[in-house]
Symmetry: C2
Subunit: 145 residues, 2 copies
DNA sequence: GGTTGCTTCTACAGCTACTGTAGATGTTAT
DNA sequence: ATAACATCTACAGTAGCTGTAGAAGCAACC
């Protein structure tokens, strides 16, 4: 059995965040030691690693909850999990496109900056144009009501 | 001059969010009409579109504030602007790298999920495996050339 | 056995970046 | 003139944490 501190180090996650996940039911109630400390097994570390990684991918906690519940009920169809993954893939692709154009613009600025002023900075123009094309059809998962 | 509602529609941004950005100084104080309504010019729409786009790319407001300062302050020393641009470029590149590998993961997940049941769906498995690989490579990702 | 020092406990406040609501007022169309 | 809608201010609430206070557990050294 592991302490909460060990689990936190193993998953690169704050102790408070683990307690928070328990509080909102994303992690099960941990059994306690004699002295009331939470005790964890390897399965808990795996589950938390999954949650943290999914968060890094940009999954909101509700989607993670859904994925975890799907894994708890292994006879269900994969369609729901697939839909979540596809939504995230869509997001990721759009972010990559946007970041690549921002990268290009930043590189151009650094180039021009060599021995001059930045009086012709075009960051806003470049990215506001791109923003229009991006925001027409799509919306961030996190920003949803 | 445009109303706040027009600007909101043009940038796919809530009216309250525009007022919030003004409040925290990300947008300038808008001049008011006779009846106290905020009035906006095209430049404000561009600026807001830039902010929204940068947010979608995952930049925190502080980073956006810094990027905006590049175009707000065209006479600031080249060294300062260069430092900001380089720091942001570094961020952008790291994000792109991370997102590209996440994209690969998601595509693999969708591929493996096709037409199966959860019992042979590897979504969660792949995600927790990847979590381990991310933790392992964390220092490599952070390393600078 | 006592003391130091770290970890963990609960409880709650604060953070970022919004989002929603109430109630008043401005604006526009019929 | 009245209805319908937009905008105003002010403030409360949300997600997903993160920090802090103050107490208690625990391990090590003297």
């Amino acid at each position: 059995m592991f302490t909460i501190g060990h689990v936190a180090r193993a998953t690169d996650c704050k102790v408070q965040t683990i307690r928070y996940y328990e509080q909102i039911g994303l992690l099960p109630q941990a059994p306690r030691s004699e002295g009331n400390r939470r005790l964890y097994a390897q399965a808990d570390i795996d589950r938390l690693a999954f949650i943290r990684h999914a968060r890094e991918l940009g999954f909101p906690l509700d989607a993670i909850r859904e994925l975890l519940s799907l894994s708890d009920d292994p006879n269900q169809s994969c369609a729901a999990a697939d839909a979540i993954a596809r939504r995230q893939l869509d997001q990721v692709e759009r972010r990559i496109t946007g970041l690549v154009s921002l990268k290009t613009e930043l590189m151009r600025m650094i180039e021009q900056c060599r021995g001059g002023k930045i009086s012709d900075c075009r960051v806003i123009e470049v990215l506001s144009d791109h923003a229009q094309c991006v925001t027409e059809n799509h919306q961030m998962t996190e920003a949803k009501p």
